[in-house]
Structures are given as C-alpha cells and as structure tokens.
Symmetry: C2
C-alpha cells in the first residue's frame, strides 16, 4: 500500500514519515497489518534526508488539481493531510489561507471521490476551530466558533471531510491537535510559535520573547505524542468513530507561568531566566481566543494519550532532539 503525506517536508510530516518507515506497516481498515510499499511526501520544497527506497519526495502546489490527481492512485489507501498555512500567516494573507487550507483540502477530497477508491484520510485540525464564549473545558459537542481565518478554514475542511465520509467518498478522521510544543528549529508565523520558542531558545542558550501574558493558558501536546496520535487515529476502527469524525486530541493545559516553572524544574534557573514577557496584542488576541483545555474522555476511551506533565514534554524534547542543556 501507498501512503501520501501532504506537507511531507514540514516538521510533523517528516517526523511522521520516519515513524511510519520504522514501523514498516499500518493496520488496515479491518485491523490487518498492511506493509507500506511507498511513502509519497508532497510539499512546496523537497523532503530531504531520507535514504529509503520507499520514499518519494514530490514538489508541487497542492491546490493545483493536477498535482494531487497525479499522486493519488488506487494504491494510495492512506493519506495524511497535514499541509496548511499557519494561523498568523492565514490571518495576514487571507487569499493564501483560503487557497491552501480550504481549496486544497477540497481538491484532495474531490480527487479521492473521483478516483472512487475510498482511502482513509487523516486530517489535522486545531484548537483554533473554537473561540468566542466557551465553557472552561471545551466539550466534544461544544459548537465551533473560530475567531481566526485559519480556524474558520480548518472548521470548514472538517465539515467537508465529515460529509465526504458520510457519503462514502473517503473514510475520514479529523484529529484536532493541541498546539505542538516543543517544536525544534526556528520560529514560524503561527501565533502559537512562542509555545515552542520559550522552551527551545532558552535551552539553546538564547533569549526568548513571550508575546502573551503569564496567565495565558495553552493546550499542548509534544511532537512525539502527536505522531503517535496521528497513527493511532488512522488505525481507529471506523465504526468506533460513528457519525462525528472529529476527535479532540489529549493534551496538557498549562499557563505560561507553569511552562516557565517546568523549564526551571528541568533545566534550572539560569535557563528559565532567559524568557522575557513582552505582550504583542496581535498575537495575544488570536491565542487568547483558543481554548486552554478540552475534555479528552472520548480520545482516551479510543486509546489516545498525552504526557502527564509539561516537564515530561520538555524532557522528551531534550531526548528526541539530543539537546545539551547549557
């Protein structure tokens, strides 16, 4: 079987690819193991660093119909649709966000529909689909009320995936990701970029600016657990998902203060002192519209798990990225 990952050169895409290659197989729709014979990584830049004959890196514009039509064939029975324009950028460039977060998602679903082979499609959504007046703990049946264009586009793609699933065009699974922290590498245009930066930069001996107030509560998941949840989400029995294909993934609810405290616990006072709070109202407005916690009963019943503490998240980052604490 062939697996397609859109956004395959991105951080999560690459990490997912490595995990899939290491496993070598995924469960099929009936629970039977299916060996991965080909792993196609589509992105706007080449996916590099894979020395594995199963990997094929493809560069293309995902919103161009011909690109996906050329990549999705009858053997492509698993698609991880991760490609997206992040929140800050989708707010700054409305057309680009609509094109990639909405139009490309629809092109992907349409391509599957016309192909008629009903692949499993795992789509990553976000905390940003919620907003406005919310209960302290968002429930599975809390109404979506996005307060950013990114969140609106993700919510729309969720509805499309649900309807394409209901009609039997695809077998879709929407995984609403918490903010992923700690991401390695550089800051990006996501409004949530700080949630990695204030841990990553200090651990790297650098100063970090936190653009939201100390009491801001965020809902976090480590890359390690996120990848495990993506694969578990793919392997879930369709019947267990029922009529609502969207699943709020587990996470940890922490305030900025608690994040700083966890960093102090793991890496010491000197490192924790490298964080400076300097509120950026544009970012604060977006981040504060997201839920700081949601009910994870359903995800946990289905076997999806997060870390137990943010200190554990930092430790797994240090381990996975071979960081030497300075």
């Amino acid at each position: 079987m062939k697996v397609l990952i859109t956004g395959g050169a991105g951080f999560l895409g690459q990490r997912l690819a490595r995990e899939l290659l290491a496993r070598g197989e995924v469960k099929g729709p009936l629970g039977e193991p299916q060996p991965i014979t080909e792993l196609v990584l589509l992105d706007v830049v080449p996916a590099t660093g894979f020395e594995d004959s199963r990997v094929r890196s493809e560069v293309g514009d995902i919103a161009e119909r011909s690109v996906l039509e050329g990549l999705i064939d009858d053997e492509t029975s698993v698609i991880f649709h991760l490609a997206a324009i992040v929140s800050g950028q989708a707010e700054a460039d409305f057309d680009l966000g609509m094109r990639i977060n909405l139009d490309a998602s629809r092109v992907l679903l349409e391509t599957c529909r016309l192909r008629g082979h009903r692949p499993r499609v795992v789509f990553t959504s976000s905390v940003a689909v919620y907003g406005g007046e919310m209960p302290d703990v968002v429930q599975n049946d809390t109404a979506l009320n996005p307060q950013s264009s990114y969140g609106a586009q993700k919510a729309i793609a969720e509805l499309l995936l649900n309807d394409y699933t209901r009609r039997g065009f695809v077998d879709g699974r929407v995984l609403r990701l918490p903010t992923i922290s700690v991401r390695p590498g550089k800051p990006n245009a996501a409004a949530s970029s700080f949630a990695s930066g204030i841990i990553r930069e200090p651990l790297n001996g650098e100063a970090a600016i936190c653009p939201v107030p100390r009491n801001t509560r965020v809902w976090l998941l480590s890359p390690r657990k996120a990848i495990a949840c993506l694969i578990a989400g793919l392997e879930l029995d369709a019947a267990a998902l029922g009529m609502q294909r969207a699943l709020n993934l587990p996470g940890i609810s922490v305030s900025v203060d608690e994040m700083v405290e966890a960093l102090r616990e793991v890496a010491g006072e000197k490192v924790a002192k490298r964080i400076e709070i300097k509120v950026d109202p544009r970012i604060e407005k977006i981040v504060s519209s997201w839920p700081g916690r949601w009910d994870t009963t359903r995800a946990e019943q289905l076997g999806l798990m997060a870390e137990h503490s943010f200190a554990d998240v930092i430790r797994s980052y240090i381990e996975d990225e071979h960081i030497e604490v300075r």
Copy 2:
C-alpha cells in the same frame, strides 16, 4: 439604497420582496430609516408579477462570478442571500449542491470583499446544520453536525459569513430557519416538502402522503413570521450579535400527529382525513436527523417571534393565500 435578493423568484424571495416594497424602507446600520430605491431579484428564472419601478428582475447563474460582479455595486448595501439547492436535491446531486450552496455563497462574499463597501448580508441557514447525537432541545452553543450534504454546505457558508464579518468584509447575519410551513404552490425536492404538503393539499381537496412516521417532530415557522424575522434580522444592531452571527430562529415544535390534529381543529375531520402516512425511508432518514426543537432565548431577546400554535400557522396560511376550505 439598493437591495439584492438572491433566489428572488422563489417563494420566500418573492414574499420578502413584496414586504420590502410595502415598507419602502429598512433601518440602516445606525437605526436610521433608509428608503429602498432599487430591489434587484436574481434567480435562474425571471421574477414576475411585480409592477413596481423599483424592481429589477435579473436572470443568471449565481455561481458565475461575472453575474454577481455585475449586480453588486457600491449602492448595494443590503443583500438577502436566499438562493439554494434544497436538501433532497443536494443529496441527489452532490456537485450541484456544492456549486450553489457553497461556491455561490463564497462568490457572493468575495464580490463584496473586493468591492470593499461592507454591505449587510442576511444568509438563510437551516435546521439541517444540526444532526447526530443532540440534546432534546438544541442550544445556541450545540455543535453543528450536519447529516446531509445540504446541511454541511449551509454550515460551511455560515463559517464563511462569520469570518468575512469578523474581518470586516461584510456585516453578516445568519438566520437558521425552521422548516417553513405552510408553503403555497407545489411540492418540491426538499426532504421537508411534506411539512407543507400535508396541510396544503388536504385544504385544497386533495389527498396527501406523509413520508415520515406520526411521532416525527419538526420545527416549523410560517412564511409570514419567516419574512418578519428576515427583515428584523437585517435590522438588528451588529453590536447585539457579537462574535457569533448565527441565530436560531424561533419556531413551533410539533409532531406529525399534532399537525394532523391542528388541521382537524381548523378545517374539520373531512380535511384531516385526506392525510395518509406512507413512510419513505430516504426522507425519514434526513428529516429524523434534524432537531425537533431548539432553544430560542437568544432570538426572543433580540425581538424575533414565532406563532404560538400550529393551528395559528394554518389559519395565517388560509388568510394569506385566500384559501377556501373545502
């Protein structure tokens, strides 16, 4: 000021047009009266029977960008977007439903955005945006979970309208209509067509088939109140609507049995006996996925009202359509 009604040759569109012409003005964004100088009725067929110099009937495909671009100018400060493919037809013809219910709504919003004049846009949505597991009484913050393509398309258009409003491209208002009953004329392809047919046909001396079981609960609003709500929805103060532009309109929750009983009360046993129950599983499946009641506190606080009983609804139909009970 100029008013555009899409679906302007349809039943609700025509009735809305007549009411607007009779009023001659609507409240502006600041509550000030604004005279209607032009009323453009766009539809796939001409809107006939208007002998009023303010009315302009336009025939065109609303999903074609050039059509709306040619009709929406800086004077078009009010748009009622009623054009839609009904539930049964959108389920039967997926592409057509997507094209009119989704693409055309987006073209309309994009046209306004590019024009830059920020008109008020009233968009009619539906009970069909809800579905799956629901509380007995749907709340304003109950998650949308459409179980039909029509419902999914309406829910998506709602999200678009909310985001275009948040960004200041339009001043949008989503009115979620109950099933409209009693509609005059002929049955249509809506799964809810029976909710008018089982009253209209018997009053007209004809037999009527009801395709859903007697205990099926529906959420109804008369055309008369629906039109009043559409205009009241337009005239609502934007600040009162806040971050969530969708409003569940008031209605009456009745079972089929209670509808038959109300018809008996208003028109007698002979008329009521013309209804025959003959369940059509395809229609039952769609209709039973809709909520039979929702909380209307918010709409009522904003001054929107329904009838008090279904017998009153039948009486207003008899009055409005000059029916002679036979």
